[in-house]
Amino acid sequence: MNSLEIKNLSVEIDGKKIIKNFSLTVPKGEVHALMGPNGTGKSTLAKALAGHEDCIITNGDILLDGVSILGKEVNEISQTGLFLAFQYPSEIAGVSIANFIRAALQSRQKDGETFSATDYYKTLYEKMDLLKMDRKFTARSLNEGFSGGEKKRCEILQMMMLQPKYAILDETDSGLDIDALKVVANGVNLMRNPKIGMLVITHYQRLLDYIIPDKVHIMYDGHIVRSGGKDLAIELESKGYDWVKDDLATALAN
């Protein structure tokens, strides 16, 4: 209970095995980092957790607060409290950020319930100010014409407004300059509390200077090969991914 448990998960896409016997537990109140070279399945994992229909789960389970989410629809999984900050957020022309977030919040309301527009905007502006987003952005079409940094900030804004139990941040730092990175990291840090568990998927160690993880896991060839504290990320940075490969090869050889 009170954690996101991934148990011996195997996932295939188009008949190809991507995630192989993957296990990981992210308790509420903690931030875990998942690192790994490109092509190792990190984004696939994120999609599989969100329930994407292309990800065929051939083995294992995913439990959110003790309840399996296998076979659930994408929107159902979202409503049980899982949020995915996309690596490449989609553009939705003609739908403003304000209306989109409101629609997302509305979908969680019981039939007939509504929430006050003034309260909504008050909260929205509060979060936007924290993320140093110009309030005028509320009227802009979701992600349309946004820079990489603006898109990522918009993801964090949505996360703040939806208040999930578990957040998967997929390469949140990609495409960001150092200033934007700091703002995004600040937003993520502000959300840290005992009620939320986060999995930060990243290729580079740099983000982890600002979002200090409780645990670091290294993924290779579809599963976790090494876990440790925050220093593991620094070790990985200095030794490179080949270190992990060699290490694995040695372990297999023995």
Partner: protein
Amino acid sequence: MENLEAINIDRDKGAFHYDTTYEFDAGVGLNEKTIDYISDIKNEDPWVKEFRHKALQIFLSKPNPTHWASKDIENIDYSKIRYYLSKGQVPSRTWEDVPDDVKKTFERLGIPEQERKFLAGVEAQFDSEAAYSNMKKSLEKQGVIFVGPTEGLRDHAEIFRKFFGKVIPIGDNKFSALNSAVFSGGSFIYVPKGVKITQPLQAYFRINAESFGQFERTLIIADEGSEVTYMEGCTAPKFETATLHSAVVELVALKGAKIQYITVQNWSTNVFNLVTKRGLAHEDAEIRWIDCNIGSRLTMKYPGVILKGERARGEVLSIALANDGQHQDTGAKMVHIADNTTSNIISKSIGVGTGRATYRGLVFMPKQVRNCKNNTECDALLINSLSKTDTYPAITVGGKGNSVQHEASVSKVSAEQIFYMQQRGLTEAQAISLSVNGFVNDLIREFPMEYSVELKRLIDLEMEGSVG
């Protein structure tokens, strides 16, 4: 005796019954006797009857235009249509017989109770007296004339005869000829010089059984410097027993005048909606067509503006939704015959299920004109892999300093976008609905507020039914 078999009624749409207390019945099919009957019963002046007869000859001589747009037109059986229904002949039914899904639609769209019975064909009249009497008084005071064609041509011939049949001549096409022969119902409006009517005028103000007829004829004349907005139709599915709808709308904006004509069409899906709409814009005048086509089996409609005076402006904003089995063939015609005129066409179409949406646009700038500008944007959104969209722009530009800009796009709501929206908690249907609303958003904002709310709900409803 009445021959019920010959009437085109979809028997599935709830039981209709007829009042049989008539001495004479115009019957089905179209011939000179039908024309005489219609004209006599309306007590028309001889010139109007002659106009009708001439139109009948032209109609009979013209071939069916099945070689373009749609072969489906072959399915219209002219001999089986009732060309004139007098008040008491309009079929009616009891509220209990109205199908549930029709009742539900009224509910979902928030249609006021008193209007539901009329729209469902339960009552032949909509009592607009109470609701709109103040409006009527104020119009009268300003000298505005707002009557039906019969009254217009008989009591105000000196105003209307000048332009009647001039913007759209009888022989323009087969259906304008048909309308010219059997027209009944519609609005004839004259706005005096300098009068700016702030409230949109609607056919509701003057409702009687004929107003929502199959062959409405509308003529709006806005005198110099005047302004008027007219709204036709409504989002509620208008229950139609007839399968051919062939209206003609003529607009005349004199110097410096502005006419805005808004249509929301949601005919039931057994209707052929073949309409001719055209405006004549004089110097410094402006004509704007805002058109939304949601219903019907086949709609062919190309609102046009003839930019006759310098600095005149024409605009067509069009939204079309083609669902299963529907073909929306719509577009615009802009004819620049004076210098410094501008036109703007924005067309957005949505294809759902096996629906087919077609844009047909004509932009004409002959070598005699100068410094004219046209901007055309036609965007299509395809929701399913079975929906189809086509674009047929016909652009002719000559002369000096004229410019034409044409942009077209086709897009679909991608699986990726849907996944993204679902990940935020929306169902697939809600996600598609949101995308579609986003797609038509800027155009819907041009509609008066009450309509835009109803329209959004209507589009949502249409999408709901089709997304698996």
